[in-house]
Each structure stands twice: as C-alpha cells, then as structure tokens.
Amino acid sequence: MGIFDKIFGKTKSSEEIIVEEKQLHDGLEKTKQGFFSKISKAVAGKSTVDIEFLDELEEILISSDVGLPTTIKIIDRLEVRVARDKYLNANELNNILKDEIGNILAENNTKDLPSFLPNTDKKPYVIMVVGVNGVGKTTTIGKLAYQFKKAGKEVLLGAGDTFRAAAVDQLTIWSERVGVQIVKQSMGSDPAAVAFDTVQSGVAKGVDIILLDTAGRLHNKQGLMDELSKIKKVMSKVIPDAPHEVLLVLDASTGQNALEQAKQFSAATQVTALALTKLDGTAKGGVILSIADEFKIPIKYIGLGEKMDQLQVFNRQAFIETLFE
C-alpha cells in the first residue's frame, strides 16, 4: 500500500484505504497505460536521453493534454537534470521525470491534504463552486457534502443554479441522498439572493460548512461572469471574508481551453482551489499540469466516478505514484 499508508493511515481505517486505493487505481489505470508505462518502454535498453526518447516524451505529454509550453518546460528540466545527475536506466529516468512533474505541482502550492476538511476555525466555512457547463459542479458538491458529513460536520447546501432546467431538483436529490440541509428558491430567481439567503441561514443554524452551487457558464460571457462576481460579493455582506474558498471545477477531458477557464474564473472570483473531475475516463487530465505551471491555484480534489464516495483529496505523490506504478 506504500504511499497510501503514510497519507491516509492515521485518519482512516485500513478498509477505507483499500477502497480508496482501488478507486484511484481503477480510475487511473487507463490513464497510466498511455502515460508512464510508455516512457519505460521508450527508455528501455537505452543509456542516453536521445532525440527519439524526447520526441516520444513530447508525444506522451501532449497526448495527455499537458500543452506545449509545459511539455517543453518539463523536457528542458529533464535534460538539465540528466546532464547534471546522469541517469543510468529507465527507472532512474522515471524518477527524475516524476520529480520534475511533482515540482511543477509543488510550485503552485498544491499540498498533500491530510483530509477533506478545510484546515480552519472559521464557522461557517463557505465554499462557492464555479465552472463551465457540465463539468461536474453539482456532483462534486454532493460528494463533498458526503465527506464533510461523514467527518461529523454540519453541512448546508445552497441551490445557486436557478437557471439550468431542474438544477435545483438535482441538488435537492443530492441533499437528500447525503442527508444534509439545503436552501433553495424557485427556478429563475436571483442567484445572488439565494447565495445571501444560504449564508445567512447557515450562520443562523450554526452549520460548519456551506457549499454554494452556481449555474455553469462559459468564461467568455462577460455578463454571466459579472453575475458570478456579484454572487460572491453578496456573501461577504453576511460574513466579511466569505466565501473562504472558491472552487473551480474542471473536466479532465477538457483540452487547452481549461487554461482560459482558470484565467477567466480567477479574474471574476479569485479562484482558490481546483477540482478535477471524470478522471475515471480515458482522459488524462494533463492540462492540470499546465494550470499548475501558469497559475498559483492548488488542486484539491479529484472526481473518479458518479457515486457519492468517488471523490478524493488530490494528493500529489499519490497521483504521480499511481501514474508511475
């Protein structure tokens, strides 16, 4: 179990660890096949990093949506390291590569989180969830609520998507599934008003964590982005430093456009954390490396399926380890 023992061992039963490890493993298995196992093949039997290998590496990284600039950066760093440290076999090269990719993640503040719980004494702790259409915002909220509740926290959901057909119903079903409370208004009502209501009601009820859903929107629609800024601002009228977290949800199958999403949502709402969903598919989600490289936003959660318990805290080492297995 290695790495997972170290990370989850203290707070979780070994049964849970096995389940989570299996999920991550299953989810990332397809990812892995196209990724680092290929690298091993590429260096097998070679003693130097040649053009052929670098070409192969480039192909692997680009094909995983890492993007050109970051791919070049990784390759450059690898070359520098190899020149300095000299590597002898595929294994060592893998380690160097793993290291450099880890560094890119580390440089953007992505920390290994010990658990889902925010490290805070703020109460209520307000999390606003944003992202483009269909990335998995509502599902991620359901999954997070489940984790928080499991950890003994009082959770309140806010149905801030009053636009998409049946969005309120969808979140309501999640609240019932998980067994947490929800604040909602009718479809078509002002999302800022819902946000205000939710935070106010959360304070009155004395809940620990508030999760606010918002309607999916494309980041190039200024009107909708302004609306998001307004929703955010209105919450601070109840609690001056709320929301404490703005979670941008990204779909692992998204290509380079995810960079623009990160940029524009940050501009509108000062995104503080990322969640990467649908990693149970064949998409590699490599664009998070580009985002890590370009923005200082840590990745906190990964979605590995549609079920309540298929969310994990992002763990840099575990993520990379699993890819390298």
């Binding site: 397809k30 483009v132 269909g134 049946a166 079903i173 199958s253 998204t254 290509g255 149970d280 598919g281």
Partner: protein, 435 residues
Amino acid sequence: MFENLQDKLEGAFKNLKGQGKLTELNIAATVKDIRRALVDADVNYKIAKEFTDTIKDKALGENVLTAVSPGQLMVKIVSDELTQLMGGTASEINIKGNPAVILISGLQGSGKTTFSGKLANHIKTKLNKIPLLVACDVYRPAAIDQLKVLGEQIGVEVYTETENKNPVTIAQNAIAHAKQKGQNVVIVDTAGRLAVDEEMMAEIYNVKQAIQPQETLFVVDSMTGQDAVNTAKAFNDRINFDGVVLTKLDGDTRGGAALSIKYTVNKPIKFVSRGEKLIDTLDIFYPERMSQRILGMGDIVSFVEKAQEQFDEKEAQRLQKKIAKNQFDFEDFLQQINQIRKMGNIKDLLGMIPGVGKAVKDIDIDDSAFKKIEAIIFSMTVEERRNPDILNGKRRERIAKGSGNTIQEVNTFVKQFDQMKVMMKRMQSMGMGKR
C-alpha cells in the same frame, strides 16, 4: 539604379509567373508552425502530425503562383484541405420513418439533454414534424425533470417512466406511444457514459439494437482535448453512430476535437450548438468557419486569397506567350511592377522568394527604385512602350529629360530590360514556366 534590383526582380517575376515551387525547405518552418497551431487547438497530436505530413507531401512541387510566400501558400493549402476534410459528405438528418427514431449519445456533461431539446424544437419548427422526447437517463439526479422542463419550454411532449430503470424498455415503450399518438420523430436522450464503462456501453448498444434508430448522434463538447479520438472511436466501434454534434461552440475554444473526430471516425458533423437557450442556437455545420477557427491563421489565408484574386490567370498566360515570342514590353513591365506593389512592401515580397530572402536582407530596396523605373517608362510614348526596339538615341534623350534622369541611366535601364527579356525567355524554355 537597376543593378541591384535586377536579380531581385527576376525573382519576383519568377514568383509571379509561377516558377517558385513549394519545397521541403521553404515550408519547413511553416509546417512546424501549422502543426503547433493545430496541437494548441487540441487537435490530437498524432493527427496533427499525420495531417500536415500528408498535405505537405501533396503540396510539394506546387507552383507559388502569386506574390505570396511559399509558407503562406502552404497555410492556405492546409486551410483548404482542412475545410474539405471536415466538410465531406455532410448529409441532412434522416427523419424518414414512422416514427423516425433518433438516438442521442455521449459522455457525461457533453450537452446531450440540451441538444435533445434544441433538436426537438428544430424538428418541430423548421421541419414541421411532431417530435417526442424520451428520457432514458435513469441515473443522474433530476435528469428526467430536466428534459421535462425543456419539453415544456418548447411545447414538445416528453415521455418518461419514473419507476422504470431500464432504458431499453423505456425507449421501446416510447416508440409505441409515439405511433399511437401520431408523433413522427422520436428523440431518445440517454445518460452520459464513459467509453471505458463496459456496462454502460453495453446498455446503449442494447438500446440501439432494440429501437433500430434512423439516426444515432454522438454529442461532444467542443472543449474536449486529446482524448476526443479515444472516446469517439470507442463510441463508434460500439454503436456506429451516423453523425456528430459539437456543443458549447459559443465558448472560445479553438475546437480541434472536431478535426480529430472527423479524421478518426469520418462521420459528418451534423450540427453545432452554441448557447444554453433552446431557440436559435442550433446551427448546421460550416466546415470553412470551423477550419479557420481551428487553424487560427485567417489573416494569412485571406491574404493569399486576395493575392490569388489579383493574380489573373489569363494575364499570366498572355504574358508567357509574349515572353516566348520576345514581345514582352515596357507596358507589361509596368503592370508587373504594379502587381508587385499591390501585394505590399517590395522587400518583404522579395524576401519570400526561395533563395532570395538572405540576399535582400542587407540591401536597401524601397519603392523609390520602382519610382525611377516608372518615371522612365511614363516618359515614353505608348508606341515606345509597346515597341522597345524603336528607342533610338533621340528618343532616349527625350525620355531622360522627361523623367529627370541622365541618358546613361536610361541606356542602362533599357539594356538591362533587354537582358531580362532574354533571361525570362530562357527560363521559360527550360520548362520552368509550365503549370
């Protein structure tokens, strides 16, 4: 005045007459740039490579007809090929049958349900048929409600079975229902699924087998990255869809997935969807717009198009004949100069000619060089312009005076003009001018 220019002008002529050819060398940098642009637009890495390689091979040896650089011409060729590749044999949606059945498939969050609503509205308002929407997403919370709400918005009935968790029987029952109610197009919305989810892929396969749809559509988010090929291929292998729908094109993604998918499964892109509203946000697919969006080199493409327009094919043939008969005169020369100037900065244009680029780098050529030539030609009579041979000493003296040059300068110009004519004829007879 003419010395430095002569070689260059020959080059420019060469270019204009179509004697420059695309070579591995003169387009190498451009091909790299194009590939990079495609990959940046999320075109699959392998496909970007294959695509540019194939086109490059096809394009090599092609004449650079006008005053554009080989690289620019290459961009234009790629753009055209891209448009053609993505256009293909785009067919209308098939709604023959009673009822016609349309099966909607795709990944989670790709936009299937919204598209189903749009399609129903399209069929109702544009094709004047009576659609029925069928809710077969029995998994995602409130997915059925979502479709119901959309149906209400557009006044289309939505068939649901809240207690039934089997999409196969729901779809079958819906078709029976449509027959009874006289609805003639049945649109079956399904749950999002991953291509690697064996159970779910078996489910949609079974749905398809059971209802034998006239049309199976694969809905894909235009922001999809490199994985688009895997998913499209897996879905196609399993359910052999008839067409592709690109969603969320109102975003700012370059949409390279469209190319990847078309290239991989070669199925027509039947609709593009842009916007969350159901009305007026569904479009037929315009290959040219999409290829420009993906390649993102619209400026170059339109420059080349403009240049090609300006370059008159017939004129070129007329000139070639004149050159062959040694009848190339000052009027033709003037026209060529104008042609070149229309294209922009002369030095830039010359620099684009293979082998010339380096040579002109340090040479100071500007339009004033042309002005001098023009002044000389303008001082000739029409007769003189058409018959360079009649330029005797007296005429030359008059021309020198009229154009503000010395007689020596006029003599040099005429001499070099004659040399140029000989050169052009020789090059032509070497077969370089053939197209």
